[in-house]
């Protein structure tokens, strides 16, 4: 029963946050200096056309009514049309978002593979040289501008060494050959058995994923280290030592086992933060994801697309935060 109540507590705040998110995008959309009607019909349209389109869009109504129309459209899954691509914004997002998920997922996997062992080892040898190296490297990860790192990686691995493919998601050779099933290029290539395209996609994924991985590596390492230091102070660790268990077993089974719940929270938050880093990384690597869509729309003053993308990123962000919160409340016996 108590568990249900904690769950309800976590979920109760979601509608308010969602409402706030929708309100923010609505307000931003109304204060833009660009007239959305002129953006659609063009500068030279006759006044009666402008008036008609304005009425069709509901823009002649009072603001609260406009907000209700906006919310109603959102609930019907309608984010308006993009002026730039002339598609529905939802269609565009469905097209571009999977590439971002692909990139962010590859990055988080890399970051976890390096960050968790690094954090655990640093904590087990607190104050040692290894600990200091890990600390400096993780601070570096939080300080480096991802777009600069991306450029330097391209310069070294693509231009100078020639061991990495250039920008984009695939070689032009494979353009249009891999169908859009999940939207994640590498997975689609594997699903359709096109192994050449698969390896090519994986090679294209490597550099941007590495750049993004370093971005979240600092946070993951640091949190793992902090949790582990805390866990290693527990009395059950002393008990385990007294029983004569091996150091590695104590470290990984007893201490690490106890911090895994906290790590779920960390991973969800790190993944959410990758979405920010993805905007810049995608721009550098011409990766056809939501971040690139967002920036190109921004430069073209395509507000429906900008707000739609912002809203979707916000939704994912709220969702991941909720998962972090729920994992913590559900699986941590101390909270339960």
């Amino acid at each position: 029963m108590k568990r249900v109540r904690t769950l309800a507590g976590a979920l109760a705040s979601v509608p308010i946050t969602l409402f706030g998110l929708v309100l923010i995008t609505f307000v931003i959309g109304r204060v833009v200096p660009i007239d959305p009607v002129v953006a659609i019909v063009g500068d030279h349209a006759p006044p009666e056309v402008i008036a008609r389109v304005r009425a069709e869009l509901g823009l002649d109504r009072p603001l609260p009514v406009q907000f209700l129309i906006y919310v109603k459209n959102l609930l019907h899954g309608d984010l308006g049309r993009s002026v730039m691509t002339s598609h529905r914004v939802t269609t565009d997002i469905a097209q571009y978002f999977p590439a971002t998920i692909e990139l962010a997922t590859a990055a988080i996997i890399l970051a976890l593979l390096v960050g968790i062992p690094a954090g655990v080892l640093a904590a087990s040898r607190q104050g040692s040289r290894l600990d200091h190296i890990v600390r400096v490297l993780s601070i570096g990860g939080q300080s480096v501008p991802v777009f600069v790192l991306g450029m330097i990686f391209l310069l070294i691995f693509y231009v100078k060494l020639g061991i990495a493919p250039g920008t984009g998601q695939q070689n032009v050779l494979y353009e249009g050959m891999v169908p859009h099933i999940t939207g994640m290029h590498v997975i689609d290539a594997a699903l359709t058995g096109q192994w050449d395209a698969f390896w090519d996609g994986l090679a294209h994924l490597a550099l941007p994923a590495l750049v993004l991985a370093y971005f979240s590596l600092g946070y993951i390492t640091r949190m793992t280290r902090a949790y582990m230091i805390d866990a290693l102070k527990g009395e059950y660790i002393i008990t385990a030592r007294a029983k004569g268990l091996s150091g590695a077993r104590i470290l990984w089974r007893h201490a690490f086992g106890n911090i895994s719940v906290g790590l779920i929270t960390v991973i969800a938050l790190a993944y959410a933060n990758l979405l920010s880093g993805a905007v810049l990384t995608e721009t550098v690597f011409s990766w056809p994801g939501l971040g690139l869509y967002l920036t190109v729309s921004l430069l073209n003053a395509d507000m429906n697309a900008v707000l739609g993308a912002t809203l979707v990123v916000g939704l994912v962000y709220i969702g991941l935060n909720l998962i972090a919160d729920l994992a913590y409340r559900l699986f941590d016996p101390r909270v339960r």
Partner: protein
């Protein structure tokens, strides 16, 4: 400052003894002594000290920019465009033949100026919202924390991009956008501190003495929220630098021909194949600045907020 720790003269030794006295005679002495002990502690952290020195150096370099160069950041010498580093142009020239070293110095002013502007806007707001919310509790607290939740529901860079798109690309829009997205975490932190502080006996004592809520919040709660907020803001400064540079890079922050570091990278990234140093040098400047604030914040955390490190 270093002569404070080595009693070279009787005077310095006397000052040191006064500062480290176990039985301070006045409040002032106790406060100074505490800061001095904090400084001695901080000085033992080489990374934190490195951060502090770089931050100070950046400040001096940007403030003294006109004295440190004989060139203008805006004057173009098209004949000498994309020149490699030389005696005349220490770091070479950019795509319009402007001196990169000079532009870097003046760019530091823009970056640090934006950081200062954001902090001035954000720190008092976050601190007051957090302290009031934490002390008063109840409905006020619930409403204020929901508002911070809403602002925390979109990643900083994305929300800043949307705001800038709605306002108009430029430095002031970028500052407002970054500020709007930076205060909620500070408010949350201050609130958490205020919640623990308000349960203390001495707060009950001042309340009994008839202090008004405003007095309690501003005199007795706020000062105790400061240490963790200072640490957080120092670490945030690194994030502010990165977001500002990212906005500039995407063409949504400072606009050319301003020598903002991110903008400089955006306008020269096409030259990375041939003249790789042109976009790389401002990139290193961003890295150094953001690294310095991170190191400083990390060192400060060990001194001011040991429970978090």
């Amino acid at each position: 400052m270093s002569d404070l720790s080595t009693p070279l003269s009787g005077n310095a030794a006397g000052l040191r003894a006064w500062l480290l006295s176990e039985t301070p005679d006045s409040r002032r002495q106790a406060a100074w002594g505490r800061s001095y002990r904090g400084w001695l502690n901080f000085r033992r952290n080489p990374l934190g000290m490195a951060g502090l020195i770089i931050v100070l150096a950046l400040l001096v370099l940007s403030l003294a920019a006109p004295l440190l160069t004989w060139q203008s950041p805006d004057v173009q010498h098209l004949a000498q465009r994309l020149a490699p580093p030389s005696a005349a142009h220490w770091l070479g020239t950019d795509e319009l033949g402007r001196d990169l070293y000079t532009r870097l110095l003046f760019g530091g002013r823009i970056t640090l100026g934006m950081v200062v502007a954001v902090v001035v806007l954000v720190a008092p707001l976050g601190l007051v919202v957090g302290a009031v919310s934490g002390y008063l509790g109840g409905m006020t607290d619930r409403i204020m924390m929901r508002v911070t939740d809403i602002f925390l529901s979109i990643p900083q860079l994305i929300l800043a991009l949307a705001f800038v798109a709605a306002l108009k690309p430029g430095i002031s829009s970028a500052v407002i956008a970054i500020a709007l997205t930076s205060w909620p975490p500070i408010a949350r932190l201050a609130r958490a501190d205020a919640l623990t502080v308000r349960a203390n006996d001495y707060i009950a004592a001042v309340k009994l003495a008839g202090a008004s809520p405003a007095r309690i919040i501003f005199r007795h709660i706020l000062p105790l929220c400061l240490p963790s907020v200072i640490v957080r803001i120092t670490l945030d400064m690194s994030g502010i630098i990165l977001t500002a540079a990212g906005l500039g890079f995407l063409g949504m922050g400072a606009q050319p021909p301003m020598p903002e570091w991110g903008t400089m990278i955006a306008s020269t990234r096409g030259y990375i194949l041939e003249q790789w140093w042109v976009p790389t040098i401002p990139g290193l400047a961003i890295l150094i600045a953001s690294l310095a604030f991170n190191l400083l914040g990390d060192g400060l955390r060990d001194v001011l907020d040991p429970k978090q490190s």
